[in-house]
């Protein structure tokens, strides 16, 4: 597929602009309708809000035209649409709880974070000219990730909110560094795995028809497992633990193509989680609240009960197939309706139809990310794009699964929708990285007449049959060269026009 696309690929920035217009219209339309339905009039600042959102979208679009003209044209509009829907719902909840009387509303803060997110994403696109640069920071990324994860445990800096110690406070803001850690972790995993994949893929003993890896190669997965369990135990955060471990297992599979890693990962996680559920009250309570959500005493329990979960289900049920409409439901009855339970809020007001549409938006976003992974020529890029795209999917699964009582409730934020600055920033950076990688994935391959012939021509021509791991890595290293900016050289001359 990438082979075919090689010959037909066009930047399609015009298509992106059109889609962006639709996405902005979706967000601002929702904003206006909410005002109309809740207060009886279109919010006074609708014009400014629309212009602001449009400016953000247009800004990001122009950055793409300038720095990544071949970037995937669908990723940005989908992200803007999701972010706009989230903003609208948060604004709607502000209205319901009358928080709008104070200047510092959830919606205004989220808008500020969105702006910061878009700016940050643009900075990433401008500063990071080639994603392969990141590979040089493999182990730096590991240290950064560990640091981010450990930060909340630092006395005086960390904060325990609702039982989970995953927050730090800087000035007046609370940040969840784990959200940023997932990016650093993805970079580290990609760098580590692309180097060590052959070793990890080597065959070990066969057990029950499953080709297991060699015992000595189990080290890294055990390390990440212990790391995840430590988060679970020390920070009381099931969600982050699940997120990191899921990310690692998925990337391990991408690198080695061995199903056995997934099986080992699942067994390890389920074992660890059930051990934790049996040993630690806060984990056990989550499971109990999940399994016995409708028991009166579990529902009534002041702490660790299922009240929030069940109220969320009530909200979604009242939305039914078509929802109550923007501003017509009562999502504010669910605690944390603007963050952990924004999915239930949207399910209530937009109905099953709206919720499915939102899930499809995510699916499109993730599949675009995975398509990027297929299209990109280098192993590091494949792993990074695949891993980042998967975190979005995995996070959706954990959140929506939790809210719909498919799996125990965790406490992760729905990407782009949920209120929360750190998550929004992290996810915008992820989008920037995916856009960056997709630019190099979709860019026409350098031809023999290119000024620099260091590029791995055979690999580029048929990227999906690229078995020469060593050669690819070598090509990367060569391409990075001394200045670390190979893309400038590789990029065909005419495309900036």
């Amino acid at each position: 597929m990438a082979t075919v696309a090689e010959h037909t690929v066009r930047p399609r920035r015009g298509a992106e602009l059109g889609l962006l217009a639709v996405a902005v219209l979706l967000g601002t339309g929702a904003y206006a309708i909410i005002g109309l339905n809740v207060t009886g009039e279109i919010p006074a600042n609708t014009r400014n809000y629309s212009l602001g959102l449009a400016a953000l979208a247009l800004g990001a679009h122009l950055v793409l035209r300038w720095r990544a003209p071949y970037a995937d044209p669908v990723i940005l509009p989908v992200t803007i649409a999701l972010n706009g829907i989230g903003l609208a719902m948060i604004f709607r909840l502000d209205l319901a709880t009358r928080n709008n009387d104070i200047p510092d509303t959830f919606a205004s803060r989220q808008l500020a974070w969105t702006t910061l997110g878009v700016v940050l994403a643009s900075l990433v696109l401008v500063a990071l000219r080639d994603h392969r640069t990141l590979r040089r920071f493999t182990y730096t990324a590991m240290v950064v990730a560990l640091g981010f994860v450990v930060l909340p445990l630092v006395p005086g800096l960390g904060r325990t909110i609702n039982g989970a110690r995953i927050w730090i406070h800087l000035g007046s803001q609370s940040l969840q560094p784990a959200e940023l850690a997932k990016i650093a972790l993805a970079v580290f995993f990609a760098g580590y795995l692309v180097t060590n994949r052959e070793t990890l893929a080597l065959a070990g003993p066969r057990v029950l028809g499953l080709q297991l890896p060699r015992w000595r190669d189990l080290g890294p997965i055990l390390l990440v497992w212990v790391f995840s369990l430590a988060i679970l135990v020390l920070q009381r955060d099931l969600g982050t633990s699940l997120l990191f471990f899921g990310l690692f297992v998925a990337m391990l599979y991408l690198a080695t193509e061995r199903i056995s890693w997934i099986v080992i990962g699942l067994v390890l996680f389920l074992g660890g989680a059930s051990l934790a559920a049996a040993s630690f009250a806060h984990v056990g309570a989550r499971f109990h609240a999940w399994l016995h959500a409708f028991d009166p005493e579990v529902f009534e329990a002041a702490y660790g009960g299922s009240g929030q979960l069940v109220r969320g289900l009530f909200g979604m049920a009242s939305g039914g197939l078509f929802g109550t409409g923007w501003g017509e439901g009562r999502p504010q009855l669910v605690p944390y309706a603007e963050s952990d339970f924004i999915v239930a809020s949207l399910g209530e007001e937009l109905g099953l139809t709206g919720l499915l549409a939102i899930l499809v938006l995510y699916l499109v976003l993730v599949q675009r990310g995975l398509r990027t992974a297929i299209g990109v020529r280098d192993g590091f890029g494949k792993l990074l794009a695949g891993g980042l795209a998967f975190t979005i999917a995995w996070q959706c699964f954990v959140v929506v699964g939790g809210v719909t009582r498919l799996i125990p409730l965790t406490g992760l934020a729905m990407p782009f929708l949920a209120y929360g600055g750190s998550a929004l920033l992290a996810n915008w950076i992820i989008v920037a990285l995916l856009l960056r990688i997709s630019d190099s994935a979709r860019r026409p391959a350098p031809t023999a007449s290119s000024p620099l012939v260091l590029g791995p021509d055979p690999v580029a021509a048929t990227p999906e049959e690229a078995p020469a791991f060593a050669g690819e890595g070598g090509a990367d290293d060569g391409a990075l060269g001394a200045d670390g900016r190979p893309s400038q050289v590789v990029r065909p001359g005419g495309e900036r026009a």
Binding site: L254, G319, G351, L355, I374, K382, A393, F397
Partner: protein, 483 residues
Amino acid sequence: MNTPVRRLASVVLAMFLVLMASASWVQYVQAPSLNADQRNVRTLYNEYGNPRGPIVAGGESVALSEPVDDAFGYQRLYPDPEAYAAVTGYYSVVFGRTGLEREVNDQLTGRADSLFWTRLQDLLTGRRAQGSAVETTIVPAAQQAAYEALGDQRGAAVAIDPRTGAILALVSTPSFDPNLLAGHDTAVVNEAYRALEADEGRPLVNRAIAGDTYPPGSTFKLVTAAAALEAGLTPDAEVFAPRELDLPLTSATVTNFGGAACDATDTTTLANALRVSCNTAFAQLGLDLGDDALRRQAEAFGFGEPLRVPLRVTPSTFPADPDAPQTAISAIGQFDVSATPMQMAMVSAAIANGGVQMQPYLVERVRTADLDVVEQASPTELRRPISAATASALREMMIEVVASGTGQSAQIDGVEVAGKTGTAQHAAGEDPHAWFTGFAPAQDPQVAVAVVVERGGSMGSEATGGRVAAPIARAIMQAVMDR
């Protein structure tokens, strides 16, 4: 490395399909049971948050919802609260619903099956669901007359159109103000409810249909007389009517009111016995007819039968297995005979309507917010407790009761009224309940009524049905005929 990415893409697709299935499960499959969950305050809010249809009497709303700026969005208002409380009931966030608010809740909220097309239109046009208006059969003038005539006394009054069964008035006193219970402040509502519960007048009890039933006293003689006529007696038949009747098996006796004689001799006609409400004659008739015949006749009038109008009416009772002396006093509406005012009004209505008892009903029609009629009452025959001949004979006998007997206070100028009084003993040393039931105009009945006033009302031990209840009945009948 593209193969695992492709596989991962399939896994992601599967994950999202699972999520979609899960969301569909919650929002579609499980939704009805989740919405019905007791703990789901949303259902409550949604119900209270939508405009609830009004309850209408004679073109005026007696219960309506007005938008307010609080969590519920709408406040239920009762413009004429006490007079209509027995009809509307209350609609409370805290204590739920009673009366019509309860029985036609689906229509008022717009959820009734008959409103399916309306709901579908609302869905398609995006209009917010609106409750329907429930138009009652109540005639405001009659309702008002009944409420005012009962005044401070404890009692109840029911008026029925005998030709259709439409309930024209339904009053129970002391009444209460449903507005007190319809408030949205839980503490205030709780306080008001406690006060009403503690009130010894028991205002929350609907005495007209569902209070403790009352011994019907002499008004039950209509049933005994009907049984006698059906058994072949004529109004002119001589019946044994001594000053004092010895009851078999006991040393007890039955006497007439004030110990008076019913006639010059020890016998009198059936018609005269009813006119002067002769206890000894009807006790003897009861002994002659037997308890089975009396019970059959009572049940033919609706005793012991469940009834919804659509408010639930407590079944009136006739004792299951009385011995001879018990049968004798049952025949004059004492012992374990008990009846609701609704039941006695239905007895009179059946007599007025030539022996055909119509199904009583309170809801004339249901209209959507667009004024489309979606439900319209159609009068239906309920039973034929007596033959037309018996009905005609009873009518003539009841006319005499009002013309020259115990019920003269029910007379209306220029209108022939038929009726029967009752003065029911219910406990030793307590003042009797005063009853009146009847209909007017006698030859072309437009209204049948039953009135009960507990413990003699304002007259206490001096009370009789004729003195206390008959004037109230007259006021109601007058109001219906003047309409």
